[in-house]
């Protein structure tokens, strides 16, 4: 059994705003500028999140208090997706796959403890660390930190209880979350699923992680196309993206509109293991997704983030695609949302197909110069900062 799967709902929050409409409006118009904060986390620029009216999606203040910004953001965007799909009455049997990073640490506590104990002799530091942590950590903060509790909060706040899985592993986790959710629906394990992730860029604890890998772009913001000359790097982008996936049959039966058909998702991890080779792997994935190359005009929503050598590998792969493919790089305007990026880019692809248009060049240094127009299929790419290749193919929902 292999059933057709549609995207029937999008919940999207980025520095450019919230909701599908706002993103289509901002990104389909030429000349949109990125929203940036270049000072708060200098030397690292970030794309900040817009102010959210949390009460709209997380009505109980008690629930809001149990979370920190990352879980709130994801729970909020998940609610937007459920609303967009008009699927509020379907949540009990809705399956959930979340791609998660870590929740917020208490930065003030961390800094105070480090200030007191970093240079203390071990026989003092050990016992004192216990004493301080026991006194200073808030019990609710542990739950806000737990990766699986973004999914837990989506279940609690929105009532999504069909099943709940949380994948971990940066960009790759998000692509595999979509892949697995898609496969499970296609093979008859449920009718409707919610999949996505969230990333808060305005966090020192996240910068600490990604700085270790040399993955962050330093200094004033620059478009992705201009970063290779200085070694590359990503600019963090506050972002949350959830998609409602649904079997076409189920959507038709309830009169729900399909934004796009998710034809397939394919992933691999050659990049780190083979030390390069991503381009060849991506070509193999593409052959799997579109064995005959497919017909009509191809739009590409590139997941480029600006980290090398992933960017060069992706460019090599894209160069071998069918002539006439329209490549767009939203990461230049939105930044990198790690676990949120792949679903966000899928959302942008689905939106374009639903609206019957495409985006203008978003990063003129990388994107096909030709103006928007209509595309017949959309390829979404994702090349991870450290490892991993992911492709997804979207087609119009018939």
């Amino acid at each position: 059994m292999r059933r057709e799967v549609w995207i029937t709902g999008i919940g999207l929050v980025t520095s450019l705003g919230e909701g599908a409409e706002a993103h289509w409006a901002a990104l389909s118009a030429p000349g949109t500028r990125p929203v940036l904060d270049e000072t708060s986390f200098a030397p690292f620029p970030v794309h900040p999140l817009p102010a959210l009216d949390l009460d709209r999606q997380i009505p109980k203040k008690g629930d809001q208090r149990q979370m920190e910004p990352w879980q709130r953001l994801g729970t909020y965007a998940a609610g937007l997706a459920i609303d967009d799909a008009q699927a509020r009455d379907l949540v009990a049997d809705m399956h959930l796959v979340v791609a998660a990073g870590g929740g917020e640490r208490d930065v003030a506590v961390d800094e105070a403890i480090a200030a007191e104990l970093a240079n203390a002799p071990p026989e003092v530091a050990g016992p004192r660390l216990n004493e301080r942590l026991a006194a200073d950590l808030r019990p609710t903060l542990f739950l806000a930190q737990l990766s699986n509790l973004l999914a837990g909060n989506i279940s609690i706040v929105h009532g999504v209880t069909g099943s709940s899985r949380t994948f971990m592993g940066e960009e790759q986790a998000a692509a595999d979350a979509v892949r697995i959710a898609h496969l499970r629906l296609a093979e008859g394990r449920g009718e409707i699923a919610l999949v996505g992730g969230a990333y808060v860029a305005q966090r020192w604890d996240m910068l600490l992680l990604y700085a270790a890998g040399g993955a962050l772009w330093h200094g004033p913001w620059a478009p992705i196309s201009a970063r290779a000359a200085r070694g590359g790097g990503f600019v963090g982008g506050g972002m949350a993206a959830f998609l409602v996936l649904e079997t076409a049959e189920h959507a038709r039966a309830r009169g729900a509109k399909g934004l796009a058909r998710l034809a397939g998702v394919a992933t691999d991890v050659a990049h780190r293991r083979e030390g390069g080779g991503s381009a060849a792997v991506a070509r193999a994935l593409w052959d799997r997704l579109a064995p005959r190359g497919g017909a009509g005009r191809l739009g590409v929503v590139s997941g480029a983030i600006g980290v090398e050598p992933a960017l060069a590998e992706e460019r090599a792969f894209l160069a071998g695609l069918a002539a006439g493919a329209l490549v767009r790089t939203p990461g230049t305007l939105l930044g990198h949302g790690v676990e949120a990026s792949f679903p966000a880019h899928l959302a942008l692809g689905a939106l374009a197909l639903a609206r019957g248009g495409f985006y203008p060049p978003l990063d003129p240094g990388l994107d096909t110069p030709e103006a928007g127009g209509r595309v017949d299929r959309v390829l979404v790419t994702g090349f991870g900062q450290w490892r991993g290749e992911a492709l997804a193919l979207l087609e119009p929902a018939a």
Binding site: F44, L96, A100, G102, D110, E111, I113, A114, A115, A118, E123, A125, G126, L129, N130, L133, A134, L137, R138, Q145, L146, S147, N148, G152, N153, S155, I156, V160, T161, G162, S163, S164, R165, F167, M168, G169, E170, Q172, A173, D176, R184, E187, R189, W204, D205, L207, L208, L209, Y210, A211, A212, G213, A215, T267, V269, R272, R273, G384, W386, G388
Partner: protein, 427 residues
Amino acid sequence: MNGIPTKDRHGRPLVAVTGIGIVTSLGWGVEANWAALTAGRSGIRRITRFPTDHLKTTIAGLVHLPDEPPGGECIPSPVRVERMAVAVIAEALANARIGDTGRFPGPLFVGMPPVEMEWPQRFALARGANDGAPGYRGLVAAVEGRQDIYETVLFGGVAEHLAARFGTRGAPISLTTACATGASAIQLGVEAIQRGEAEAAIAVGADGSVQPEALIRFSLLSALSTRNEEPEKAARPFDRTRDGFVMAEGAAALVLESLESARARGAPVLGLVLGCGERADSFHRTRSNPDGKAIIGAIRNALADAGLEPGDIDYVNAHGTGTPENDKMEHLGMRAVFGDRPPPISSNKSMIGHTLSAAGAVEAAFSLLTLRDQLLPPTINHREPDPAIPLDVVPNEARRARVRHVLSNSFGFGGQNVCLVLGEPPG
């Protein structure tokens, strides 16, 4: 082949387990663990890895790495997770005799805890920071280019290292569903084989989180036993005097393989994974809905997936954490599904503690050994039965029994519940 079906009633390939590997506080390796577990021994001890001053709980089920010096707190959790995972995968592969060295013919699913930079690393970085004020800005500057730290604390790091080492196919998936994590990893592997993505898969659950901050976090949720004076008697699932779970480390790996492939290559089949069921709860972050609907739903979904009736289950490997709440809810679920005559149920956690992200995998591995040896491991420390939980918990001593099908329960914080049904090898 020999008239034995290789498809289930849904037409999917039957999934066999052809290799297992286990490490817990009871020891390294399948046989050492099983011997200790069926002898009713406890692996819970006083924590000596780091100072325990000011801690409410000072006991745990610790796994000491083979070359670990005493007081080895500087080994970060993700490194412990990876080292244990390597050991159990290697053991499982040796049992299964599958693939060439470093070339496993299928995907990898790794159930593990979220990981992050820990205090010894933070302190070391702060000492190296230039600004003299060990704030995050200074730490970030000091950490730049530390690929070693990056690969240790990236969520995808452990699984990627394991995938490279064992040569598994495709992108490895790391996952967390709290205390159901190990069972979710198995479920993902089973599904991959059922959908024909591969003939074999490795599912591993591993946890090595006994460090001060993690212990304190669980302590602050009032989840842990504080019976520090007698560590071996602290974990008391289903007992009237139970007061919480005991944190523990461990890992288990299963080599999952289509029965057809296992039989074709004459591999030993330890048992079958007949069904997986899941259901999420929407009630509370750390408690189940008092109606037990999610737990009951997960058990029923697993039975339906296996095509079995409640009466077909001969034994239940409990989630059985020993918190007042869990054991009460698990009993409620047992009654709802099995009625007046529930099968015997016992908790491995009475001996090995709660291995958290590993628990679902470790306990599935013990369930397979239960089937192999037709021997129910006990619930130890059972002295005062809880009158509210009238179940046969196989108190204190292992027991011979006819076991065809085992239900293994895993219920997680955040409402993530997964149940597995395991069965004897066919024929």
